[in-house]
Assembly symmetry: D2
């Protein structure tokens, strides 16, 4: 297992500034050369928070982030590519030889010595079978049918900031599958470093929206937080 590697390969320069400028176009007469200058950092933050609070998230789409992701299983990427508002380029098992494939072992298997031995022995058998098929002249695109979900893969993924918020909302939740949740938190920590305000509310619905969809499986914490919060808001509204 080579292990999860996540790199923020490239991203829109000054992602928060470009979002703030786009916000200004919507709500003011600013345009043309007027957009080329700088905007004060405090003003950038204020504009981004206004967009978030109004739910005007289309403006977040102007900032885009490209990740190089490797050391993840094909089980993970099959989930990942279901996020359709994003762009993907993935290592092809049709073209790339997999005779020395690495694989991901779930933590629950690692912790159980018996299970782990069986898991690893099976991986060796799969490798041997794949090699045999290739040597027998079977094409890679057909030999790969024996490869496991655990098989490691690499993928380059580009998301805009709005689509990332949706990704974090679904995949940072403790009900998400462990491998993609681990990936989601890695991606989140990397974009937070370069766009802290844009992502300050990113995370599962309990964080981003103050909502929990898990019903009776919820941990309950969110509800207590909300009651307190709403009471305070009600006072503000009625006092308004």
């Amino acid at each position: 297992m080579a292990g999860l590697k996540v790199y923020l390969l490239k991203y829109t320069p000054d992602p928060e500034l470009v979002v703030a400028k786009a916000a200004k176009v919507c709500y003011s007469r600013l345009s043309g050369e007027g957009l080329l200058g700088e905007i004060d950092k405090e003003e950038v933050r204020r504009l981004i928070r206004m967009l978030w609070n109004r739910g005007h998230l289309s403006v977040f789409e102007h900032a885009s982030f490209t990740f190089s992701i490797s050391g993840v299983s094909r089980a993970l990427t099959h989930q990942l590519v279901r996020h359709r508002i994003a762009s993907y380029s993935q290592k092809s098992q049709r073209y790339v030889d997999e005779q020395k494939f690495e694989y991901v072992v779930p933590p629950s298997v690692i912790k159980d010595p018996d299970a782990r031995v069986r898991f690893q022995a099976l991986m060796e058998e799969i490798r041997a079978c794949y090699e045999n098929l290739i040597k027998a002249g079977i094409a890679r695109e057909d030999a790969r049918y024996v490869l496991p979900n655990a098989c490691e893969t690499s993928i380059v993924a580009t998301f805009n900031a709005r689509s990332l918020h949706n990704f974090f909302r679904l995949r940072c939740c403790f009900k998400a599958q462990w491998e993609i949740r681990r990936l989601a938190y890695r991606m989140l920590s990397q974009v937070k470093r370069v766009a802290p305000t844009l992502f300050e509310n990113a995370g599962p619905p309990c964080i981003s929206e103050g909502i929990c969809h898990e019903g009776i499986h919820s941990c309950g914490r969110i509800l207590r937080v909300k009651i307190a919060r709403e009471g305070a808001r009600l006072e503000r509204v009625e006092g308004n």
Copy 2:
């Protein structure tokens, strides 16, 4: 191997009529109640062909088609769901038990007795390992890491007619992978039955556009056809 099953579960009623009506909205004063009547079949065909010839394919999007697909490998669905302008609901290996999973064997493996025996023996070992992991208390979402690409899955997929054209263009080409090509032709034959004009030009680029992207790997047939065709068009244009 249960075998590929493709059913056209539901589709926009009168798919060609709805496309023709939408075309009329663009190019005429027709609207409101005026759109509720019938349109002559010959006129429907004429309008659809005009849209195709002009490349005004957004109008094709009003017709949508929902397929139930089963007996396909996870290798196939990992490719399928890369088509992002479509909707998918797939059997979850996180929730559904796979102790009796069926699997797809590539034709090249079936034809080679040695390879086939090896392939099937490995599938049995994977099954045994999966069962063992489940019995040891490993969750389905983790046990599935041993499952192969060959593992059969089911998926419901909805495409609009324009996105289907793109799908057929890429996946009916003889360079596409055999399993998804087989699926594509099955889907094509089903939609042709209910919308023959909408899909009369559907297929690989050599059919749909008179173009081949395979360069020096092309069979050459397309080029001869094109030269003849273009010569005829040139005469028409110059004679115009």
Copy 3:
């Protein structure tokens, strides 16, 4: 003013059944022929509500709805087509003559006799100018530059049920612009007739999610409802 006309031109037959079947594919071994039969109506409702409560809304996308909309202003359609997960075919001002264009008058203008007279007189002048330009040999695509936002247009729009939910969420809110809100409620009432469970929670966030984004401009009602509701949920969770 010909007046707003909204027709549900076509839609996926049995839209709730197809969503329920797709849900079954995700969570059960059901597939192939097993999907062709009927599902009990009560079970359909149960499945749709489960999807809604889990936020598993991608399954709603299999049901698609095509509307014929006319008697709306170009101001409205400029907003409408910003909903990008939908398909549109609109009357073209490049191709269709607008010498007798109808127009939409905002209620606030209708109520003010002076404003109304001015508004209508201007529309007459615009018509006269458009006619003059056409007669002077200016192409329609250029003459239309004088046409007002109020100018009536027709559009065919296809949304899937998930995208419709998003549309209703934004455009049924009392902060949305009056004309598109009126359209949204008409569309909502039409889809509710054919898919009552699929759209039972559709509407502004205060209805669909129990959330309000309008901050200090909110009417406050939503907050009182929520506090009561959350208290009840908390009891259930803690009692669980």
Copy 4:
């Protein structure tokens, strides 16, 4: 008329390098740290051309470009926002006062002194009417119903390189409407400066694909070019 202003506000840094890296992930074992280094410029060009020739354009999506566009008519933006694989933030006529709106005059009107005088006089009347409505207490969102298609607006638009190619393909064609064609060529010249290889084939279908959809309205040039080209390709294929 303030005049068309187009600025490439931000874009993915090293757009061609990021596309080349993503291509390498698909076709090689390169991943993780291996992706962080530089790639020789000649190799970058070779990879981009290979993607183009294979029609593997999803890889182009990793490069994204944000434009500030102003001095364009609402007629233009109503067309522009129909390109759904892009992100837009536009000056709102609901929020921003338009008492001093500028407007776009089509060249065909400028050239005709009579038409021009009429056009400009009408614009003055529209301005006066808008002002009157505002003064009478009509809200901006309703007063704007009198504003013309010619009214200038500003918009920030973000496209990825693949979606841009589609935009240039449709809007650089001499059959496209003059104003959006002018915009398209400005955008094209700006992205060519920062990503010359990525956009070397961008333009109308006759340039990008060697195809013309204009049928008997075509100028015929494209056909002659093609016959010569295909003849040369056929020789290569048959000689292969």
